[in-house]
Amino acid sequence: MTPCSHLSDRMPAVGRGTAHWSPADEDHLAGCRDCSAEWNLVQATAGIGLEVERSLDRDTIASRVKAVLESSPAGPSPARRAGWLVPLAAVAAALLLLVWKGSPEPGADGPTVVAASLLPELETLTSAELESMLQLLPRDGMAVPGLDSFEDLTEAEVSSVLEDLEG
């Protein structure tokens, strides 16, 4: 582990006061611009929102939560569920088609085109709806040719995939 990684790993704990820098850490911090910038960032982030945290009226929130739970203890109403089931089913069907089509021939762009055309649909779904949709997909059909699981990727490859997915 490099000195920079070592310091980076300890910054949250030192920032929260549950650990302290050693003299060697302090020497490194003083001479490394990258670590110094990260340390400033972590310290500043640790201080954000303290006033918001203090000002929240916990008792009022607790009372309101209790009132809502007592008045409607069940999940979303059937009408609300039905409201997003139709587009959800359409997206799931299209994704199943994408999976079923499998790997493209070299140079073909079939699945990519399908996936690109789905993105606007996915953007309209809430996270709960997206999670429901993902549960509909067959897990063994999601395999990437030549890759048994995402666990086989290196961190750099995972990073690259995540960057692509998140934009």
């Binding site: 949250p12 960032l41 982030t45 201080g47 000002s55 929130i61 999940g75 995540l162």
Partner: protein, 182 residues
């Protein structure tokens, strides 16, 4: 019959069990315990200050309705952060991608030292704006790590990823934020 109030030092898991057994006071204690850090997490993630109380309330309502989904692998708090993060994302979608940084009285300059106060507020707003513009996993991993001090294992469990991926997200977030606030 009135149930006794839960002990203040009861663990979250104990309170959840009590709530499932019908003790509503346990839910109240969980809200009192976690509402503040949850509100701070959401605010730091770019949620408008005026929306924080509603977001916190809605997060708890969803959490209590979905308690069957919490099996104790992640801490109750990090599980709440995940639900809150989902709600914040949904709010962001409804607002058509605009992260609103609100200005409230507390953000205004102190007449006794207007320069220093404004400078500190500017820096905080810049960082909040930067955090709010990060991809979701980077944002949540960064806040759970840098602000809440959670370990990568715990973050990974809460966000259903791997510790290695959580570490990568954190370092990407740090890199982007350093560039943004330079």
């Amino acid at each position: 019959m009135t149930l006794p109030s839960p002990a203040p030092d009861a663990s979250d898991a104990m309170l959840v069990s009590s709530y499932r057994a019908g003790d509503e006071q346990a839910a109240t204690e969980l809200v009192r315990r976690h509402a503040g850090p949850l509100g701070r997490f959401l605010y730091s993630a770019g949620a408008p200050r005026g929306e924080i109380e509603d977001l916190v309330q809605e997060t708890f309502i969803r959490a209590f309705r979905a308690l069957g989904g919490w099996r104790g692998e992640a801490t109750f708090r990090s599980w709440l952060f995940r639900i809150g993060g989902n709600l914040r994302k949904d709010l962001y979608r409804r607002e058509r991608g605009k992260v609103v940084i609100s200005i409230v009285d507390g953000d205004l300059a102190d007449p006794a030292d207007p320069g220093a106060e404004t400078e500190a507020g500017d820096a905080e707003d810049r960082i909040r704006r930067g955090i709010g513009s990060l991809p979701r996993l980077q944002r949540e991993v960064f806040l759970m790590r840098a602000q809440q001090g959670l370990e990568y294992d715990e973050i990974a469990t809460a966000l259903k990823t791997t510790p290695g991926a959580a570490r990568v997200h954190y370092h990407h977030a740090v890199k982007r934020l350093k560039e943004m606030i330079r």
